[in-house]
């Protein structure tokens, strides 16, 4: 499980719906991060957009881009 409080900007994270996002900034509330979609099988129009991403939606940190 990821402690989202510690995620640094630039980190890539896989989400439960199969999307990948890159951390833009971290408010360090341990619950949300601001992230940019790199890919999204669910909705391709999300790619490039920035959204708040919920901790429970994050599956794992991607070490190799």
């Amino acid at each position: 499980m990821i402690n989202v409080r510690t995620l640094e900007p630039g980190t890539r994270v896989a989400l439960t719906d199969g999307s990948t996002v890159e951390i833009v900034s971290n408010p360090k509330d341990g619950i949300w991060v601001f992230a940019r979609y790199l890919s999204s099988p669910r909705d391709t129009s999300l790619v490039g957009t920035e959204e708040m991403v919920f901790a429970q939606d994050m599956v794992e940190i991607q070490t190799t881009p």
């Binding site: 408010p27 509330d29 619950i31 949300w32 708040m52 919920f54 901790a55 429970q56």
Partner: protein, 455 residues
């Protein structure tokens, strides 16, 4: 005495004309609940100081009445005051005292609010709410009106309340005595780091009336006067203005604000003060000189403790501070205390004042420790069934107040009691309770803004 049922406070439990006030208004839980609604949701309350939140994202958690509020500066540099309670199930969204943050995120289910109060994060918005929740309706609850006055932040929950400046009326001149720099420049004060917070087992109106102008209780501070902690080495304050000036109690019957003040004679300079330190003494001598030049006759007025209705106390001179008496039930008060210094005073002056403030005020202050003891046991001994049958006496100086008071060419705004010879009066205390009773009786601000009805 039966509390239930509708009765008027004015002329009833609060009989200002006779100088008698029932103990019920201090010790009754029922009256307390009513006053939270009628006084604290309608009046303007002190929230904090702008210098506590200089940068976007800065916040300071404060209180209004019994409730926790967040004072913060949003990304666009606008200052807000929000109820510190999540719109989903009420969790306190910020349990820190201060800091800097881009969002206030609720720890319970994760709703997240931006620093402008907007609800920006709802977990499973798409899945659980089917994207249907109207997030724009669930931002943090914001105060109805907010005013920043010379760095101090004030707010009210009541959209129908008059503006803060109208609420102040002419009392503004006395608030300025606490907020203007010592040399008379507008504003120019800042708060020292660290807000004192402590609990006193008494009703909030005990300290409020004390600061309204209870100079009768000087006797209770005899122990500190004996040992001497004053800024010139003895007593507890510099008091020379008493020997040459007029000692006044000033109040505003239509507003409920009141304060003490000294007026110095026309031809005499302000007496020397802060003589324990040559640097500090010289600083204040220069400031006083410039103040007299800048303000003319008004520069002869020196502030003394006052109370801005309902629960903000001002100590404009020694030690310069603002206190808020937060109600915590009928029988408990949480005091928050901010201390003020001239922002551009030399470090040596600030440090001297800081040390003086600490040894004078607050729970460890040699002066105020005795106040807390008196308020505590005055309250405790008033709770009994027999005790409640006997009202307190507020008859000092009844009928001796003066409008249009003037001394050596200076007109003093407000209704004035000159206590130079009479030593003491309960004039200001009666004024505080007169206004309190009006708030308790009135159903709307139309009834309370009596000054608007004058031709």
């Amino acid at each position: 005495m039966a509390i239930a049922g509708k009765r008027r406070y004015t002329g009833g439990l609060v009989d200002v004309a006779a100088g008698q006030i029932s103990r019920e208004i201090f010790v009754s839980d029922e009256i307390y609940a009513e006053e939270l609604e009628r006084v604290f949701t309608r009046a303007w309350l002190f929230v904090g100081h702008e210098s506590q939140i200089p940068k976007p994202g800065d916040y300071f958690v404060s209180g209004m009445g019994e409730e926790s509020v967040i004072l913060c500066r949003d990304r666009e540099d606008r200052v807000h005051v929000f109820l510190n309670s999540c719109r989903h199930r009420g969790m306190k969204v910020c349990r820190y005292d201060e800091g800097n943050t881009p969002v206030f995120t609720c720890p319970y289910h994760g709703w997240s609010y931006a620093t402008d109060g907007k609800l920006v994060g709802v977990p499973y918005f798409r899945e659980a709410y089917h994207s249907k929740l109207d997030r724009s309706q669930f931002g943090l609850v914001e105060v109805a009106q907010l005013e920043i006055y010379k760095g101090t932040v004030w707010a009210t929950w009541d959209p129908s309340a008059p503006s803060f400046l109208e609420y102040l009326g002419e009392f503004r001149r006395y608030l300025d005595l606490a907020l203007d720099a010592w040399d008379g420049r507008e504003g120019g004060t800042e708060v020292l780091g660290g807000v004192q917070k402590w609990l006193i087992p008494c009703n909030w109106k005990f300290p409020a009336e004390n600061f309204s102008g209870d100079s009768y209780h000087n006797i209770s501070h005899r122990s500190v006067d004996l040992v001497g902690i004053g800024p010139s080495g003895s007593g507890r304050r510099d008091m020379r203005e008493r020997l040459i000036g007029r000692r006044l109690q000033i109040c505003f019957p239509d507003r409920g604000h009141q304060t003490g003040a000294y007026v110095l004679p026309n031809e005499e300079p302000t007496p020397p003060a802060y003589q324990h330190s040559p640097v500090v003494s010289e600083y204040f001598r220069r400031c006083e000189e410039q103040r007299r030049e800048r303000l003319g006759a008004w520069g002869r007025v020196t502030g003394a403790p006052g109370e801005l209705f309902p629960n903000t106390a001002l100590h404009p001179r020694q030690p310069r501070s603002i206190a808020v008496w937060h109600p915590r039930g009928a029988h408990r008060t949480e005091v928050w205390r901010w201390y003020l210094v001239d922002a551009d005073a030399p470090p040596e002056v600030k440090d001297f004042l800081r040390q003086y403030y600490i040894r004078y005020s607050g729970p460890a202050g040699l002066t105020e420790q005795d106040d807390m003891e008196n308020w505590n046991y005055a309250h405790a001994a008033s709770r009994g069934t027999i005790a409640r049958r006997h009202p307190y006496s507020y008859e000092q100086g009844l009928g001796f107040e003066v409008e249009n008071y003037e001394w050596e060419g200076l007109r003093i705004p407000g209704t004035v009691m000159d206590v130079t010879d009479s030593k003491s009066s309960e004039h200001n205390l009666r004024n505080f309770y007169r206004r309190w009773a009006q708030f308790m009786d009135a159903n709307s601000w139309d009834e309370l803004a009596t000054w608007r009805r004058r031709p």
